[in-house]
Symmetry: C2
Subunit: 194 residues, 2 copies
DNA sequence: TTTCGAATGTGATGTAGGTCACACAGCAAC
DNA sequence: GTTGCTGTGTGACCTACATCACATTCGAAA
């Protein structure tokens, strides 16, 4: 399958869960997205890049991550189909990327330019509503994860993650799961062998 | 000073930094806010409450926090003037509060009902834009804090916090700063005595 | 002024998880 | 096949921080 069944239908479905657009409106919105394929391991946003798009995942799996001075990686998010990813700080504040995004598996995405997003939000009120909803969801999720970090130990966070996204276990190397949980791969390995 | 100089002017200013509203529009928006005073230590949202408002701080300082089974407190946010606070998860998903909000000092706030917020967002496009912007800012901040948790030790996070909000040091008991940093009060105490 | 409670400091000790080291997979390219 | 590279397990340590216990300071109430 060279392409996901139907990029347009997937996005339409996703948006329709939150707001109602007429077919004309949606066609117009969709015309601003650009479909792209990436190979496993390929970078979408690298540290230092100018960031001007956000990415809607159609197929595959992305990660957004930060690498510190000791070259240690921390994963902010795994992005599965119908999730969005970007360096939102750079995207909104116009700076260079500090967060990188790349492909864990071969992936299909739709890119939306930031200027276009703002234009669409401006022109079509429900689109702005959609993006407010989406960002709000991200915000609540980030707060939850923050609390989990303060509250729970590594084993607890591991079990939480597996309960929430059991699919990850098979798709994602454990190294990356460790980088998401904020523990060393050694510790993670010891966690589920006991 | 029984009341902040002018609640209306403060909110107007705050919103005007992001979007332009006509005076009529703003008056209409403002008419949905309810001003309230709280005493130091007073609860605004308690665990288990039905949550239907968010709070804009005019004066004073609030905290939003979570208390776990071992009765240990974790602080999500200190809300200073012109900041917003609530249990956004409960507010948007209609559940009961798991996050509490109370007053660190005597405070003046403006309350906005969630139904009213949605109504205003619907009726006045720029208002929706404002709230998207605000939520986005919160989202980016939460992600930054997450990274800081994964990346930095307690001392680093402490210095980060003090650099960002030096005012906190004088206003807020160190216990609470510890609860924000996610360390014990003892550890925090040892941090800055060395 | 005294008294009481809350907030803070400080020592002794325990532990989760980090780091380093090395071994052993599995898979891709040749 | 063999060479590598990337992922994973496992042991021996080490360190940051938690916890418990008790001392001290400070502010508000009496």
């Amino acid at each position: 399958m060279p392409f996901p069944m139907d990029a347009k239908a997937i996005l339409k479905d996703h948006i329709a869960k939150i707001v109602s657009l007429t077919d004309e409106q949606f066609d117009y919105v969709f015309s601003h997205f650009k479909q792209q394929s990436y190979k496993k391991g390929q970078a979408i946003i690298s540290e230092g890049d100018k960031v001007d798009c956000e990415y809607f995942v159609l197929e595959g799996c992305l990660k957004s991550f930060y690498i510190n001075d000791e070259v240690k990686m921390f994963i902010l998010q795994f992005a599965m189909p119908t999730w969005w990813a970007s360096d939102y700080n750079a995207l909104y504040n116009g700076g260079r990327a500090t967060i990188s995004v790349d492909c864990i598996t071969d992936s299909q995405v739709l890119c939306l330019n930031s200027a276009d997003r703002e234009k669409l939000c401006n022109e079509i009120h429900p689109v702005e509503h959609f993006f407010r909803w989406r960002t709000n969801k991200g915000y609540v999720a980030a707060q939850k994860r923050l609390l989990s970090f303060m509250n729970n130990d590594a084993r607890h966070r591991y079990e939480e993650l597996m309960a929430l996204y059991p699919a990850l276990y098979n798709i994602v190397p454990k190294q990356l799961i460790a980088a998401y949980l904020g523990v060393s791969r050694e510790t993670l390995s010891r966690l589920y062998n006991s």
